[in-house]
Amino acid sequence: MTTVDGRHELDREAERLAYKPPEIRHDKQGDLDSEERINKAMYNFVKNFNTQTASYLDGCLHCGMCADACHFHVRTDDPRYTPIWKIELFKRTYKRQVGPFAFFYRLLGLKRHVTIKDLEEWQHLLYDSCTVCGRCSLVCPMGIDIAGLVSMARHGMFKAGLVPHELHETAKRAAETGSPLGITPEKFEERVEWMADEHEVDIPLNVEQADVLAVMSSIEIQKYPESIAATAKILNAAGESWTFRTDGFEATNFGMLSGNPEWQKEASMKLINTAIKIGAKTLVLPECGHAYMAMRWMGANMYGKPLPFKVLHISEYLADALNTGKIKVGKVDKSVAYHDPCQVSRRGGATQAARDVLKHLGVDHREMKNGGDYNWCCGGGGGVITIKRADKLRHRVFKLKMDQVEETEADELLSSCANCRQSFDDSQEHFSWDYKMGSLMEMVAENLEEGTA
């Protein structure tokens, strides 16, 4: 059997041996003309420049080490996937508009103004080939947070109407309905009732005042609804005063992923306002990576001041609860490989939490080689999994993940992010892989010991 080459498909219909020409899609939204798109991109690039970004954009040495850390480059050897190259337009704009020598850059034409062709070409680089996983940020000898710069650069692309269609539509749906998958409050309530019924668990909904506000991601609600029940079991066992709320249940933030800061703020504020309304002391985020980044580290800045409640990822909540004895779990006699979600562990700093949980579960935790904070990204984050045309690329890079997991020879594979889970499930099907991703939270819920409240 020939191996599947994820890059260019064979054209099996052609008379002689040929490859199908690669699809080059330059998705456009809106009816702005090229001039307007260029301006919008430029204005929204510029909006982001501050001392930190300026030092980053001024400090790049063109050493190319970031390419060696990026799964997209490593698996394709395509130099355009060099992380710092992805933000080249962003960098050029900085140097021309706001940098210390901007006047001279413009006067002497030392850097070209961004063209519409540039922006079209860069759509693929900024969206399809970056999961904002942050490995590049770790390797850069100048300490440049390249991944963060990609997120910022997307602001320009969004306002210029140059976002991959599926990602744009998903973000739009989230802005209009409150959920990227169009899950209305009614639908959510339905699912909650269904799960409460099916799993015979009490699930408080729309309680007026509670210490803990729990939220979910649409991916879980739609695809892995048992997460709802698992969350409830855990919070009940811990004896928390908690609730779900139909006026604030969506943890995902497609505004952040697609590059629309207004939509990002809206989504965050919805949760923040709900938490304040019910007097919550803690907001527990679900198994979702970027939700953690959006609320734990960026939420307060959307709010404009410190949040009046703690923000915890569910894995952090579990670690806390297990460490303090609020809940207890029975031992699970299995070997486990744990995939660290990029936004929770590497970028978010909550790496230790999952390890505490696994310790309490008594599993044989087989750390992956170069795992933990350095592990390979699942390839689906940053909105990439929504972009169909990026599937080939995403499957190609997933091989790194498969190798990394297989090396542990563990029985089970766990993670704590539903988007990673989606990415793993999709690739598992594509490659007929024998590892199926499980949820850390669900494993805890399944092994809760009675009488711990």
Binding site: Y43, N44, K47, P100, A102
Partner: protein
Amino acid sequence: MKYGPTVGEVLQAKGVSRRGFLKYCATTASLLALPPSMIPRIAAAIENARRPSVIWLSFQECTGCTESLTRSASPTVEGLIFDAISLDYHHTLQAAAGEQAEAARHAAMEENDGGYLVLVDGSIPTANAGYSTIAGISNVDMLMDTVKGAAAVVAIGSCAAFGGLPGADPNPTGAVGVQDLVKDKPVVNVPGCPPIPMVMTAVLAQFLTFGTIPDLDKHGRPLAFFGNTIHDRCYRRPFYEQGKFAETFDDEGAKAGWCLYKLGCKGPTTYNACATVKWNQGTSFPIESGHPCLGCSEPRFWDKGGFYQPLSTGHFGSGAKLGGAAVAGVALGVAAAAAGRRRQAKFTKEA
């Protein structure tokens, strides 16, 4: 031409043995980097040389060059050779004075027209003729007048070659060297403050032997003596390479004879024969005696940083100017940031 006894006859009369004379010719040949086969030719040339007429002009000088050349504890061959030239005019050494002296100069010029040597020590003031006159004649006038019929001009010492001490900043007398004024006669510079006596006489010997001036470097100095730097011939060079330097004049390094670079030695940029020929018949030279080379055979050596300032010191200019540059930089930075912010505000509105 006025003829007297030949140089050989004079030497013989003074009791110089044939052997002693040949030994001198051999040394001279060696110094001039000539093969041994040239020794007889040098000997013959000097022996049979008619004592050429030499007019020595002294301008703004300290007489150190003359002292160097004529000082001797016991009669030396060089000294005797000097006696063997017809020194027809020399302020310090001549017996005549006043009108008589000037008359002697003119007589020598007329009688040896086209064949006499002019030796000059001291710089020539050009700012005001009154700074230095001899018999009421300005230095410039005397120089230009005297060289008219000269075969060649030799500038003895750094003052005559490059302006020397009088020419040092701020050079109030407008002192210049011979080569800055005399353009139509061959000029040989024998700089040094003072020059090594043997170097002087070797140049004369070359002229006597071949009737030509030696090969010169870009500063008009004979390559035979000014072709290498002190640094490249210095016996302390290994210490330089090993990184062993005297830090003060009386520390252990100084006592051990280590390199004097850090004490301001200008050896690397100074071309002269001090490290090989040395002084006082090969007794020693400044570095060997523990003092860094001043670079005295180089143009404007008085103004090339202090004698005790190491060669690799930069001349940064005033701290005030540097402070000014800093202020300018800050101002530009503030302006750039302000412009950047303004642009940002403008774009944010339109974003």
